[in-house]
Amino acid sequence: MELKDIKAIIDLMRKNDLSVFEMEKDGFKLKLQKGAGDQTVFAAPANGPPASAPAVAPAPVSPAVQAVQETEKGASLREIVSPMVGTFYRAGSPESPPFVDTGNEVTEETVVCIIEAMKVMNEIKAETKGVIAEIVAESGKPVQFGQVLFRVR
């Protein structure tokens, strides 16, 4: 699927006043939703790695270390921290929506982000159960070992 195809679909959606378009073909998924904030096809490069990056590899990463943090209200927040050095991405590609948003429920196996290291896309799992309370790391920016990526309630 090329960008011009996606642009054509958006055009059609606008013309026909459609709010959601979804398709899946050969492992490629596309969801276009009107007025849903950052879920647009023209996602800033920061939302996903450049299209020229190689395919996502389910890399075997060591579990992210978690820490307990007390908030002002006294509720404890757990942290999902980076197990490696690399570049943090909230989505699998520039065209994809982010893996998780605030308010989303996650389980231990939920992929929450990608950290790209040496051209390898590592899927990072939540390793905890709960609800995403805060997205701490910035998409497209480097992260170091132990850096907080998300806070989970």
Partner: protein
Amino acid sequence: MFEKILIANRGEIALRIIRACKELGIRTLAVYSEADVDSLHVQLADEAICIGAPPSAESYLKIDRIMSAAEVGDVDAIHPGYGFLAENAHFAEVCESCKIKFIGPPASAMHAMGDKNSARSFARKAGVSVTPGSDGIVGNEQEALKLARKIGYPLMIKAVAGGGGRGMRTAHNDASLAPAFHAARTEAEKAFGNGDVYIEKLLLNPHHIEFQIVADQHGHTVHLGERDCSIQRRNQKVIEECPSPLISPGLRKKMGHAAVKLAESVGYQNAGTMEFLVDNEGRYYFIEMNTRIQVEHTITEEVYGCDLVKEQILIAAGERLSPHVANATPRLHAIQCRINAEDPEKNFQPSPGRIVFYYAPGGRGVRIDSHAYTGYVVPPYYDSMIAKLITVGATRVSAIARMRRALDEYYITGIKTTVPFHSAIMRNADFRNGTYDTGFVERIMNSDNFALKPTPTRLHEESLTLDRRGS
């Protein structure tokens, strides 16, 4: 010239490299473990990236994380320091494949000299005498026994993948040969992943003399004289001096020439050190090469008037040897004491923890290479060296007097250090006469008239409040 260098190390050498970079106008990226977040090298680098948990295997030895950090930091060169990955040929190869310059020798030279047995072989080929011993790896007890018949006892069984004084066992007779052989192999397998051993004749109380080699990428190789590192405790160097009180100008010329020839034969580039054992009759034997910058590079710098770390960076950037290095001559005398966080009264038991008060000596001819400061917490995960105290003098006598004076000014409280041990050695007659060998430390520690000499206490202890701050 490089724009940014990643320092793949920690402690005093990381600081040393950062200082050289700053003076050359090169930006610095420090990588550090969680235990080193407050380390001086992290604070002084332009950028810093945490690469893992405190244990070295989870941080400073993690090639993938270091390369990630190099990519994220967009560096064009990596300086490996000493220890950690400095002599890891695979790491050098990874850097090369990522188009990041490894500041050190080519991987081929590291392979040639990294394997101690291979190094001996190259030495023989270059006509440099080696300690009598096996022609290669000794595969089994029978071979070891045959060799013992040929060259006689005592023998040293050494790991081919070893270094830094580790992976060695001695055998004084047939009965102890087999157990020592197997023990050495087992230890080598565990420590270095390679159980192969070779055998050398054990020279009794030799002098450990090493030659500094510097070579550029254009085929120009020189030596910057020798360092005497005979003062060792359990095969770990504690005091080094340059020049050696033992080496005459004639012997220096002969050994230096041999060192250069051997370095050239393996296509060596950048800084490196050839290690020899020398007996009292001036016979010398090559034992191994360290394909990196060394802890004691400092005393060569002071005596020959050069900056070896800067030279390493310049060489790696493709520059020819600086004229003042290529034509360097020894002018002064320098001594280095390695200050470790260890308790000399309790068999040098490690003494990590918070340094409550730190004051380093100063004045003419005193150099301190250290990452320590008041309030610094010495972590337990790494080697115990917290400072290098170097004194320079016009003569050996004045360098010793200066070291004595400087040690008496060195205040480090909150942890135990080896300062009192060094002070005692500076007052020892054999050391002062320059008549010592690798058996020196053990002899004096077992003698009756050896007493530690602590830093003199202040006259008005009660009025000094600095000690009580920050604990």
